[in-house]
Each structure stands twice: as structure tokens, then as C-alpha cells.
Symmetry: C2
Subunit: 406 residues, 2 copies
């Protein structure tokens, strides 16, 4: 109810649903979504699932089959009647490419429509050097590599999705602000456009990862969810009404810079008391050191793992730090539950998974203590289910989404 736009700009006119032809496109799209996420089903099942008449389903399906998008696959016997013919989206109708632009590497993956990986390419990046040119070159090289490796013709690529570690503005032009890369208003789409004609979609990496979990991971079917990502810093993808809420200028989700101790520890963002000043991997290790601990040599990942190991022994500094961490994180989770009343919270990111392995139950309990009974009891807190490729997978869902929408 009431999702119709009021006169808030041009949104009303942009809506593309006035003619009977749009109706057809919509129905076609509804059927495709239903088929894609519902798996192989008969026309009849589609009819009851979507509320469309059997006649229309038949009609649209013939079209989709003629286009090669949908294929009949076997049939299911019924006792005493004509067997139902099962339909499914043809995974080879087209392919999508997902790109994960990370701090240390650009990862490019090619999937068929069933989201089976068909090819993959990794290009290391110099961690001290994140020229837009270098990244663009890596992405373009990755695209042509996966194309040749998979033997897929570029004509059957439905699109390329790119997940980047920064705020992505879509209007008036796609531009990326990424502090860690020193990017400010980098017109990534325009730069890529010079090297490829494929349809492009660019979004924040945390959002693409969230979308991956939402579609294929722990978030399947959720209408209201929060996917929290804890790595060196802390971010989140917020799902409301079944789709990502990016806020008014696409920078929503900065969970890490939400207060937990007003006037507390200084955060790398310059403010004080942020969650990220306590809970990100970087902050955890700093706090460990401040408390007299000696972080293990190596990268953050190794150091954090070592600290977690130490934390298993009572009385250690590691344990103290981790107990506090669980308290802060759990309290913040409780706050999110109260504020947004999600049906599911999903914790991920490399540090989040490390932490979750050992402390998930403690986090649940802390969140319970810091939230109201009712909203807590209708929420579940879980870990991400997808591996390190989730960002690329989620990025690939961007063109997939466009395809399913027609």
C-alpha cells in the first residue's frame, strides 16, 4: 500500500507503465522472476503463483520459449491426468559478468544464467597504487580473459556488474568516490565505456555482496534484512521492502559510523565513539595493542586470527578485547533490531566471519539484552553463507536483475 510516488520530482513521469504493452512486459517479467527463483515449474503452477490466467501464462511462455529464454525440461507424471511439463530459465540463454574491485586485486567472473561460474580471472593491484587507469585496465583485461577462457561470445553477455569499495553516485553520471583508493568523482562508467560496449552497472561492493546473500545466500526470501559487513571497517547493506535501500544519495549503510559510546574512542573517520572505532579489524587490533597485547606479524587477517586464538584462553588480553567487542557489536545489533525491525540480520566480511565462528551465540545473547522483546524474537542473526566470491557474484546480479525485469 502506498508505494506510489507522490509529486516528488519527475518520478511520476518516469514510471513506465501506462500502456497495455507495458502490462505485457510486466507480466512477462513477473513470470520470469517466478520461474528463476521458483525453479522448474509447470505452466499451471506459474499461473497460481503469479495470479495470471493459464491462458496468459501459455501465451507468454510460448514467446519466451521462442526467444530461447525458457526451455521445457521433462515432465512430471500425475495420477490420471496429462503430465505437467516443467519449464525453467535456459541457463545458456545468456551470460553475465561480475567484477569485484578490491584493495589488492580485481576479480572478474563470468556466470551463466544459472549463476554457475564459467570463468574467472584475477588481476593483482599494487596496494599503494589505485589509479583509475590501472583499475580500468585490469577490469577490461579481465573481461576479455573470461570471454576467451569460457568461449562465450560477447554478443551473449547480458551485461557487466562492477562492485567497487566506495560510494557510487548514479546521477547525473555514474561516479565513484572511494576514500581508500583516493578516488573522487571518478567517472568509472565513462572510462570503461571507452574499452567495451557491454552494458555496465556499477554499485558499492557492500551492496553487491548484500544482494548476493539476499538472492542466493542466507537472505533468500527476506523482505527486510540487514547484511552487516565487518572487514577492516564496518558497513552494511539495508534491505527494505525486498530491495536495497541506498538512501537519498546512495551512501546509506555506513553502519560503522553509528555511535556506541558518545565521546569514546577516536575513529579513523575523525569522529569519536563510532562502532568502527571498536569493532572493525583495524580498531580491534589497535585496542589490543593499546591494552598491552602484541599483534602477530603479517597482515590484518593473520593478526586478527592470532588474537582470536589467544582470546580462547581466559584471563588474556585477547579475551578482554573480544568480550568488549562482542558487547559493542551486540549492542549495536540490538539497536538495529529496534530501529529497523528486520526479519534477518546476516553477518559477513572476512572479520565478521572470523568473529562469528566463535562468538555468534554470544552476539545473539548480547543483542537480545540490548533490544526489545518483540522485535528481537522475530529476528534471526546468522552468518553469510557465500564465500569470498560474493562481491563478484552480487555484482553479476545487477545485469541479471535488469534482464529479469525485461
Amino acid at each position: 500500500m502506498g508505494t506510489k510516488n507522490r509529486e516528488g520530482g519527475t518520478t511520476l513521469a518516469e514510471r513506465k507503465r501506462g500502456t497495455v504493452r507495458d502490462l505485457r512486459r510486466d507480466n512477462r517479467s513477473v513470470l520470469l522472476w517466478s520461474l528463476y527463483f521458483g525453479g522448474a515449474r509447470s505452466r499451471q503452477e506459474l499461473s497460481t503463483a503469479t495470479g495470471l490466467s493459464p491462458a496468459s501464462v501459455s501465451n507468454v511462455m510460448r514467446e519466451l520459449i521462442d526467444d530461447g529464454i525458457v526451455a521445457e525440461v521433462g515432465s512430471v507424471d500425475s495420477d490420471g491426468g496429462r503430465p505437467r511439463v516443467l519449464l525453467r530459465v535456459n541457463p545458456e540463454y545468456g551470460y553475465v559478468i561480475g567484477v569485484d574491485v578490491g584493495e589488492t586485486r580485481v576479480q572478474v567472473e563470468l556466470f551463466d544464467l544459472g549463476m554457475t561460474e564459467r570463468a574467472k580471472a584475477d588481476f593483482p593491484l599494487d596496494p599503494r597504487q589505485h589509479d583509475a587507469e590501472a583499475v580500468v585496465a585490469a577490469i577490461l583485461a579481465g573481461i576479455s580473459t573470461v570471454l576467451t577462457d569460457s568461449g562465450v561470445h560477447s554478443g551473449s553477455i547480458l551485461g557487466v556488474g562492477v562492485g567497487v569499495p566506495g560510494v557510487v553516485q548514479q546521477h547525473p553520471e555514474v561516479s565513484v568516490d572511494a576514500q581508500t583508493f583516493g578516488w573522487r568523482d571518478v567517472p568509472l562508467e565513462r572510462l570503461l565505456r571507452a574499452g567495451t560496449d557491454l552494458p555496465l552497472r556499477i554499485d558499492n561492493g557492500a551492496n553487491t555482496m548484500g544482494q548476493a546473500e539476499l538472492w542466493f545466500g542466507s537472505g533468500r526470501g527476506a523482505q527486510n534484512a540487514i547484511i552487516g559487513l565487518i572487514g577492516s571497517g564496518v558497513g552494511a547493506a539495508i534491505i527494505s521492502h525486498g530491495s536495497a535501500d541506498r538512501g537519498s544519495t546512495a551512501s546509506a549503510g555506513e553502519w560503522g559510523h553509528t555511535p556506541v559510546i558518545v565521546g569514546g574512542r577516536t575513529c579513523r573517520c575523525g569522529n569519536v565513539g563510532c562502532l568502527e572505532a571498536y569493532v572493525g579489524a583495524e580498531a580491534m587490533l589497535e585496542r589490543y595493542e593499546e591494552a598491552g597485547g602484541v599483534p602477530a606479524q603479517g597482515d590484518q587477517e593473520t593478526a586478527l586470527a592470532a588474537m582470536l586464538l589467544e582470546a580462547g584462553t581466559p584471563g588474556t588480553i585477547g579475551q578482554k578485547i573480544m568480550d568488549e567487542t562482542v558487547l559493542y557489536l551486540g549492542a549495536s545489533l540490538g539497536g538495529l533490531i529496534n530501529l529497523l525491525n528486520p526479519e534477518r540480520i546476516i553477518l559477513g566480511g572476512w572479520a565478521g566471519l572470523l568473529l562469528g565462528e566463535r562468538y555468534l551465540e554470544a552476539l545473539r545473547e548480547t543483542a537480545r539484552r540490548h533490544s526489545l522483546t518483540h522485535p528481537f524474537s522475530t529476528t534471526s542473526i546468522e552468518l553469510c553463507r557465500l564465500g569470498p566470491d560474493a562481491v563478484a557474484l552480487g555484482a553479476a546480479t545487477l545485469p541479471l536483475e535488469r534482464f529479469l525485469n525485461g
Copy 2:
């Protein structure tokens, strides 16, 4: 993009847009919304505003005029062409009733479609006695009072909206949980149904107030907004994609129970460190007393006003409390800005307005210090514009919304 429901239950089938007739209903509704919020406009303007062809606009408008919903009102001359005929929604086509169930009184108001108040009735409630029966009786009495006072026939009432101070569950049956009233799973709709046949819509009072501000107050036109309500406690209505985000079980918006000092002051919800443990009127007065202040006699409103007056003098206890209050509230606002990236934050509630009068600028500054540059710079923080009738007004928009949707 991508607001289509995935296979998350029965939502797909519930969508009522498959047939060419639904298309008509939708277009009719789009035109009505545009006319309602865009004011008097010609058919041609409607055509460009909605993207529908002039022919269709004419067509639908004739229908609406025949139904008495829309009326032609004057025309504007143009130099050298046929003058445009202005259309508007006929404010007398129907009426809506809004009910505000507060702690001390039930307020019932009757509006025409232009949201001009036509009648109003107040029924005091015994603050120690919030029997569902008493409240239901007051609401029903209020409805018949405003009907007779306004002379409006009940047949032209489009519906009644009720705002209650508690969590409202819509499924499987409308039921209300209101801690302050001692209500648990009160089937308010069923109880009211026994006394009236009018269409009913029940929602949380903070949400209805938020909707009022969104439609007619400081929030006009916003797609992403937060309406914060500070009274005795602290709540919020969260608007995303242009409509209220109630979360998965309709209890979203408990901003007051979001952490600001983990491990801090005990809140009346039983947890510690909640925003409401510092910023609600009740908490502010408690903190004042704990710090050695002597609250003025009388109700909370008088006492808070007195403290605010004292706070104007440097060195007083009142000033100390208020400085802290601004710090906590501002930090929490900063967190909301980072997390949700709203285009507007609107502060209301009786205590919020009292506070905002004097400290709005300080709050803005504190929020700025506690948020990231980009999202802060695209947000404005303002005060509610509507008076104490906002809850009833917002409640009345519930049936109005249904009417506009057809």
C-alpha cells in the same frame, strides 16, 4: 529498479496488476495522486506530468468528473489558444476521520478531502485507566459526535484512521500492543467493528504523525526521510522509497532504544545506554534531578519547560543537562544520517519541539561533527511544522491513501 518481489511468500500473487483493467485502475490512481498533490491543473499538464497520453487523460477525467470526484474549476487564459480548463479533486466528494488515541485523551477529527478540518471532538481519558473498552467507547462516541457536528452523512465517510501509542500488528488480525496502556494483543479493529461499519485503518501514532509531516508538513516531497518524535520517550518514523518502512513486524522506528553509551544509564525498557535513557523528557528530568536539580511542580511539560528556561543561564545544572542532551541527540542523529542517508530529518513531538526551538542549530552542529561529510551535506535537519493535531491528521491520511489508490 528491482522492487519486484522475489518468491518471498505469497506477495507475488497478491499483486493486483495483471489485467488490462488493473491498468486502468492504476492510471486512474496515478492521475488522482498527481491532481491531489499537484493542485489545480489542466488535462494537458496532467498528461505531461504522468506520461499518459492526452487522450487517456481526457478519458479518465471524464469518468472522474462523472463520479463527482474531480471538478472543473475555472480556466487560465493563454495568449492565442484555447484556454486550459483547470481540474481539481472535489474536496466535498467525501470525508475522512482521524483519531488520535493519546495517554490523556482521545481526539477525533473530521476532514474533507482537502484536509480542512470540519469537526473535532475530545474525550479525556483517565490516565490511570486505559481499558480497551473505555478507549473504544470514546472513539465511537467521538465518531458520532463529529458526524453530527459537521452534518456529514456517514455514507460519505471514506474511512476512519486511528493512531495508537503502540505496536500495531496487521496480520493475521489487527492487534495492538501498547505497554503504556497495558494492552497486549488487543484486537482493536474487531472491538470497533462492533460499533461502526465505516472502513477502519489502524496504525502506530508515531507513524501517522510521520505521514502527516511527510504529506503536508516539513517532509513534503521527500523520498527518504526520518521523522523523529521526542516526547516522554523517543521514537521515529522511517521513510524510504517514499513510504513508511515499518519493518518486518511493524515495530520499526524504536529509535529511542538505539545505543549511545553502551553500558550507560539504565533505560525504562530495562536495557542500558539507550538514547531514550538520556533524551526523552522523562529521562532528561530524571538526569536533572540526579544532578541535584529540583524539577518544577506539575506535569512533565511544565517541568521540562522550566528546566529549559534555567538552561539559558550559564553554569546552572539545567545547562549542563541540556548540553549533554544535545550531545547525545546530535550524535544519534549523526548515526542515523550515516546509516540511512536521508534527505531530510524532521524533529517533532512536544519535547522535540521545545528542545528544537532553542537548540536546533547546536543539534545540527553536533550531528555534523558525528557524521560523514557527504551524507551530512545532503541532509537537512528541521522541525515539524504541524501542530498538536498532526497525529489525527496523519491518521486521517490512512483512508485518504486508500481512496487515492482506488
